[in-house]
């Protein structure tokens, strides 16, 4: 059920990055921040230099999550993602099956909760 939310948030991401004419080089611009707060949850966006988008959906009731934490989560995600990319056997576009990646993501999510 979150897929719908993520898909809709992609539009917001596109809107944010299309408006920026300058090169998105630094971390700050990679992190898009709160995309769209709904009644139930908040969506945060992050785009990489290669236009790969990360979207994090968090429960609104979880107010303890600060912006910095979200940023660090995105950073970890980005790092793990690059590690997965480094694997020559991984074809971009395939669902990621790396166990290391999954473990990192799970750990991160557990920490956030």
């Amino acid at each position: 059920m979150f897929h719908y939310t993520v898909h809709t948030s992609l539009d917001v991401v596109e809107e944010k990055i299309s408006g920026v004419g300058k090169a998105l080089a630094d971390q700050r611009e990679l992190y898009l921040g709160l995309l769209y707060p709904t009644e139930d949850y908040k969506v945060y966006g992050y785009v990489t230099n290669s236009k790969v988008k990360f979207v994090i959906v968090v429960d609104s009731s979880n107010t303890s999550l600060r912006d910095n934490e979200i940023r660090s989560m995105f950073r970890k995600l980005h790092n793990s993602f690059t590690d997965v990319m480094c694997n020559p056997f991984y074809n971009p576009g395939d669902p990621i099956q790396s166990k290391a990646f999954d473990s990192i993501v799970s750990t991160m999510m557990v920490q956030a909760c």
């Binding site: 790092n79 690059t82 590690d83 480094c86 020559p88 056997f89 790396s98 166990k99």
Partner: protein, 659 residues
């Protein structure tokens, strides 16, 4: 006997653990099953006898498992029988119920010794499998290959290497029966691989003897298109290495394996210190016919620095993992310690090159052509090499040990060296990886060395301040020159730096020079320390030039400083009295002029020191004042400029405003 229970045995499914399955499948293969799956009665009987169970028990087993009823031993019956025998050996009654639980593997003397040893009451162990194997091999010296290659039900890969019982026991003790399974995709290797299985995974000996004993079963032929060739070569090695002690872990790389890996590495990348690019490695490893997800996992495990390329140790690790995988070992979740790039083998001779041989086989593409020939040759080799193998065991091991340890040691060094050397030649891949790799943003334990290597040097220390100020001043110099041209003596190329760094050491020089009250002079003097001697010579000539140097201060280049230094120093030298300070430095010129005049007077040497002390104090105050002066002057200039711009803007706006 439990006929009743036996009746249902045929269709009873008994769960087998992995080790059991392997063992049983190996035994099954051993018994020379025919096309329909029936086992040769003779072989079965032999096996049963080897279990050293009383005949009555064996009869019971036969009945319970259903073979008696059927008249032959099929796969299922055989397995049940094995399990029953295991139970009997443990002391349980021969019942179907007995086999429901976990049992140690049945012991067959002379046949499966290794096998049992291998699985000493550890029916199932996932990660301990390797350990088990290791222990087994170590303990059981001979058993000819029981490599119970797990036969898949398809029997398509029939690798059964019929191990040859006749094999001389000396051949290789620790080759524990390969309990590993051969995966379907590993079938290509089939017998050869298994045969060559190194101790690490499985006793390669199995293959060897098997080849000899039963070429017919030798699935090598089956895999003729497979790199049997590799088998041949590896077989030799295997045979030689037969005596290699089966190390306790299949995750160690033996020397032979390492040699093999080295050769393979060289085929891809001649420089051992360089990296193999990801795509190259991908193509290479894809030839092993392992499924992509597994290869992906292997890559993740072996590429510890996550740079998308493999160094030599990483390559060995990956290769080793692939070989292990082909031999049926499940891939570990994390990289075993022995496979880490930084791991240094303590000189222990590890698993025999069974794996080394395996990889040879793996790459079918390369080996296909000569497979057939190799087959023949391999058999011969095995025949001949076997006898002599046993004797060499010890010597070989020992020789290997020292070889191995030094070999290992360089590896960790290699890695750092590779890191360094490859840092540049590496494609942007590595650079990119570096940027985002763990080496920097995240700490990665195994790449600590890499961190050190890859870390960009710290930015060079900032240039000394005076230079900076000087650079700034240079721009001002011109202005100053133009603006203060009236001042005259000032040499335009050294504007007073906004902040002259105090030069305490200059005081030392000052003792040398009786007078310089200005900090700039101090600074100047310092670099021009050596020039002092010149001062005297140039005193007359550069007196004037030196005057302006006061404000110039050290920032200027040494050459200029020297020039300037000359001038100020001269006056400094001359000047004896600290009255120089009186000339507040609104302009260096007047100051210097004053100093000049004063310098002419020279107190007697006796009072020199006192005067010098006073001079120093005055100098310091002068320095402060000079600095202040220069700063104010600069501010003045800035303000002037602003005023000018504002005025111009005002003028521009006036007509607009007026209209």
């Amino acid at each position: 006997m439990d006929q009743g229970s036996a009746a249902g045995t045929g269709g009873t499914f008994i769960s087998l653990s992995d080790t059991e399955q392997r063992c049983y499948s190996g035994l099954y293969a051993l018994c020379q099953p025919d096309s329909s799956g029936k086992l040769a009665a003779g072989k079965v009987a032999e096996l049963f006898r080897a279990s050293q169970l009383p005949a009555e028990t064996l009869h019971q087993v036969t009945e319970v498992c259903g073979a008696k009823r059927l008249g032959y031993f099929g796969c299922g019956q055989f397995y049940v029988a094995l399990k029953l025998m295991a139970a009997a050996q443990v002391g349980l009654p021969v019942r179907l119920e007995s086999v429901a639980g976990e049992l140690p593997l049945p012991v067959f003397v002379g046949i499966m010794n290794e096998l049992e040893m291998r699985y000493p009451n550890h029916p199932s162990t996932n990660e301990s499998q390797p350990h088990i194997l290791g222990s087994l091999t170590g303990s059981a010296p001979r058993p000819p290959a029981d490599r119970p290659v797990l036969r898949h039900p398809d029997t398509s890969m029939d690798k059964q290497e019929a191990w040859s019982p006749p094999r001389s026991p000396g051949i290789s003790p620790p080759r524990s029966p390969s309990a590993y399974r051969s995966y379907p995709y590993g079938a290509q290797r089939n017998g050869t691989d298994t045969l060559l299985a190194h101790d690490g995974n499985v006793p390669g000996r199995l293959s060897v003897p098997q080849e000899n004993s039963s070429p017919s079963h030798y699935s090598l032929k089956l895999q003729s298109e497979h790199p049997v060739i590799t088998c041949v070569a590896s077989v030799e090695r295997l045979v030689e290495r037969a005596e290699i002690d089966y190390s306790d872990e299949p995750w160690r790389i033996t020397e032979e394996q390492r040699e093999y890996y080295t050769n393979q590495f060289r085929s891809l990348q001649p420089d051992l210190n360089a990296l193999i690019m990801g795509t190259v490695a991908k193509n290479f490893f894809t030839k092993s016919k392992l499924p992509i997800p597994e290869l992906s996992h292997i890559w993740e495990l072996s590429d510890v620095d996550k740079d998308g390329a493999l160094t030599f140790p990483e390559f060995c690790t990956a290769f080793h993992l692939i070989v292990a995988r082909k031999n049926g070992y499940p891939l570990p979740e994390t990289l075993p310690a022995t496979l880490r790039p930084g791991f240094v083998e303590p000189g222990v001779v590890t698993v025999p090159p069974s794996e080394a041989t395996e990889p040879l086989i793996v790459f079918d593409d390369k080996m296909m052509p000569g497979a057939n020939q190799l087959e023949m040759g391999s058999v011969d080799l095995q025949m001949t090499s076997r006898p002599g193998v046993t004797a060499k065991q010890d010597t070989r091991d020992e020789s290997r040990k020292p070889e191995f340890s030094p070999k290992r040691i360089p590896d960790p060094h290699e890695k750092p060296i590779q890191r360094v050397s490859t840092l540049k030649p590496d494609s942007p891949q590595e650079l990119d990886a570096n940027m985002k790799s763990r080496t920097r943003p995240r700490s990665y334990s195994s790449t600590s060395i890499d961190d050190a290597m890859k870390k960009v040097e710290e930015p060079p220390t900032p240039p000394p301040r005076p230079q900076k100020t000087h650079s700034r001043a240079s721009s001002l110099d011109l202005n100053k020159l133009f603006q203060q041209s009236g001042q005259g003596a000032k040499s335009g190329w050294l504007p007073p730096p906004p902040a002259l760094p105090p030069r305490p050491p200059a005081t030392q020089i000052f003792s040398f020079l009786p007078g310089s009250e200005k900090s700039s002079q101090k600074a100047v003097q310092q670099p021009n320390f050596a020039d002092f001697s010149k001062f005297r010579e140039e005193q007359e000539s550069s007196v004037r030039g030196g005057l302006s140097t006061e404000d110039l201060a050290p920032p200027k280049s040494d050459s200029t400083l020297r020039h300037q230094g000359h001038a100020p120093q001269k006056p400094v030298r001359r000047k004896l009295h600290p009255e120089s300070e009186s000339a507040t430095p609104p302009s260096a010129t007047p100051y210097s002029a004053a100093t000049l005049t004063k310098s002419t007077q020279r107190p007697p040497p006796k009072q020199k020191r006192e005067i010098q002390m006073a001079i120093r104090k005055n100098r310091e105050t002068n320095a402060v004042l000079t600095r202040l002066n220069s700063e104010l002057q600069q501010q003045l200039k800035v303000v002037h400029r602003e005023r000018v711009t504002l005025e111009s803007q005002l003028e521009l706006l006036r007509p607009v405003a007026s209209t």
